[in-house]
């Protein structure tokens, strides 16, 4: 193995990625180390572009990027990065005629995971970790969407990578599998850098020590989930009636309404009937941060 084995993390300075005249990433500064970092943002915020840049699948347009202490711009270093990184892209396109084992074996060869015996042992281990060992001889086209997602996860887990980039990894997983997934990722994050790009806030809440929120290609928050929640403290409450327009709110199962008061907006006076301040969740905080408008009129 190369010197990358001991290296960990990502360092980005002024990262820019443009598509034509549009700046999908606009001056990202980021340092990532061991542990799980959640990447949040609305659709089109730049999450997937950032993940693809970190995975070296996409070249950056400007700025400086080092992944696992190597520069993706140099082809030999890029190879080293890719060998030591696990990457699960959004909607991965796997060859449907491969068996589950065949796909992982192919990926293991590309990661240079030793001789045949050693490699096959690693493939079997990865399949067991995602609970697909019994389906190892099934062709990919015969696997369900959730199984394919787990298979994608297994490809990313091969060789215990120092950097794990997971773009929407829990889409299609049932609750049991999601718990298993969280357990796996937590275990890996002890010594590896894990970046989790997702819309599943509960996964972020359960796994991440750090949250990075993107909007319009820029970082709008970088801190711990607790810090993000703190920002929302005092701005979330439940009340009996639907609030006025321009306020994020949604109807709860018991018929009451959960209301998020935007930063800087004054609380309505007089207080609506039954208004009670509640402890904000990470989702509340994220919605407040991104200014998303829910069911409020």
């Amino acid at each position: 193995m190369s010197g990358v084995e001991g290296a960990s993390g990502v360092s980005a300075r002024g990262l820019v990625r443009t598509y034509g005249t549009r700046r999908a990433l606009d001056g990202i500064d980021l340092d990532l180390g061991p542990g799980v970092t959640g990447l949040l943002g609305r659709n089109g915020a730049g999450k997937t572009t950032l993940m693809r840049c970190l995975s070296t699948d996409l070249e950056i347009s400007d700025g400086e990027l080092r992944v696992l202490d190597r520069s993706p711009e140099r082809s030999t270093e890029r190879t080293e990065i890719r060998r030591n990184m696990g990457y699960l892209p959004q909607n991965p396109s796997f060859y449907p005629h491969f068996t589950a084992f065949g796909l992982l074996d192919y990926m293991a060869v590309l990661k240079d995971l030793g001789g045949r015996r050693e490699r096959h042992e690693e493939v079997r281990r990865a399949l067991r970790r995602v609970d697909l060992y019994d389906r190892r001889h099934s062709r990919i086209r015969r696997l369900s969407g959730g199984m394919r997602q787990r298979l994608g996860l297994a490809t990313a887990l091969l060789g215990d990578p120092r950097l794990l980039l997971l773009d929407e990894p829990t889409v299609g997983l049932d609750p049991e599998q999601r718990i298993r997934f969280r357990d796996l990722v937590s275990e890996l994050a002890v010594r590896s850098t894990v970046v989790l790009s997702t819309h599943q806030i509960e996964d972020v809440a359960a796994l991440c020590r750090r949250v990075v929120c993107l909007d319009g290609g820029r970082i709008i928050f970088d801190g711990s989930p607790g810090e993000l929640v703190d920002r929302a403290r005092g701005r979330v409450w439940e009340q009996d009636t639907r609030p006025e327009e321009g306020v994020t709110s949604w109807r709860l199962a018991d018929g009451r309404h959960r209301v998020l008061l935007p930063v800087g907006a004054p609380a309505p006076e007089p207080a609506p009937p039954g208004r009670v301040a509640v402890e904000p969740s990470l989702e509340d905080a994220y919605l407040l941060l991104t200014g998303a408008v829910g069911g409020g009129r």
Binding site: T76, R82, Y95, H97, M107, L110
Partner: protein, 498 residues
Amino acid sequence: MTRASIFWRLTGLNLRHLLISPVFLVLMPLMLIWLWLTTSMPALPTLNDFFTDSVLKVAGVGAVMFAVTTFPALREVRHSHDLALPLSSALRLLSLTLASVTVTSVIMGSVAALYPLFAPVPPAGVFQPIALVGVILLSWYGPLSAVVSAVWTRSFVPLVAVGLLFPTYLLYTALALVTPADLVMEQMSRFMYLALSPLPFYPDTFETALIYLTHTLLMVLCLTLLVLAARRGARLRRVACLGVVGLSLVGLVGLQAYANDVYVDPERSPSPLPRDLAAEGCVEIGRMTYCPLPGYEPWVEHWSTELTPVVARIPDRAPLPVIWQANPTRRSDTLYTPPDGTAPVGEYWDPENPYHGMDLDSSVVAYSLGLPPYLYHLCSATGQARVVVGSWLVSRGAVHEDASTRFTAAEWFLMDYRPDLPDLSLAYLLTRLPEERVAAVIEEHWETLTSPEADLDTLTELLDLPPADELPEPDWEQAMIEPHELPYEMGEDTPLCP
């Protein structure tokens, strides 16, 4: 070093995947069985037969490897592009190509090796090892075309199109024999053959084998560069690759033009016979001299066996030609004008095939009778005694054991000199007369009978037979020529034989 290590491991994996691919496991054995069943093995095979057979097998093996390689090639171009894999798609395709051409080469090499192994006698001719390299390279067209079509179309359409060709061909062959579509199929077959074997010669001399090898190398280069040129977002490389492809295509066309110019004999004028025949590898047996091409020496015995009974009936004072085997670089060796004083013999010989013997006998007899070279100069000798004498001499060939096959041989010779009913009737009668009676007349009156002025009745008188136009017609059941075809084939404007 890492990338090289990954590359070789991936190539090994690709190799295994190709060999256990269902497409390979089903199609390749079927194709090999079909190729085996359709192999035509002459009694006396030559290295030219070996080459022709190999080109046909290349088409079969290449087509299967095209199908087998298309699937993993599409895997690389359609399904693995967003996974940020350690090897670039170009290197992964190169690895797949290497694995596929290795499988193809081993299969093609093994299939080709079976031909001399199962040949009844060692194939005649001189072996050019680089020609075999060319044949192996030719088989690479299959996997390389698969990769090129996958890269450029990113779809199974080319595979479907190629897959439909075979049943379409069979369907047309079955249904379109008497329609204009037959012509279309014929042209398609011709195009396919030209695509695989575009040069106008067999690669059986060092120069021609070298040209052949260069040709296949240029084709392989073109296909490889087309793969590299398909990469998106690398405009400079794309332009450079396509530029080199263009240059290579110009080179290919130039090479074909050169080969056509130099190796297809444009001249019909005969060249002089070399003075030192021994230096040419010629051997004398009895009254005949045989000049085989290098590697064809064992065939002299067959030629001699065929000619001995014919030559025995040609008087000693009559001239005899040198048997000269045609130059092997010409495919259309019948167009090749042999040197003066020779009778040509081709690169095919089957002791059991009477027509091969009849052609050789006819060439020798025509020369002795003072007729123009057999097959090369058509002329009319209707009513001349010498062509009927010639027909009788040809009917003495070794392979003709009964009167009916002797008459076939006589007709075979006559056909080139516009025979009419009396010529045919007399020729038929001669094959029924006692051999010694006819031989004695020919021996004694050779000069008279071989004169262009001697007519049929000159011969009938010498043999104490009725005039030729009073002779009974031949047994048409045994004849190749139909009565309504007489005078046979050639028109009124055919020149008289000198």
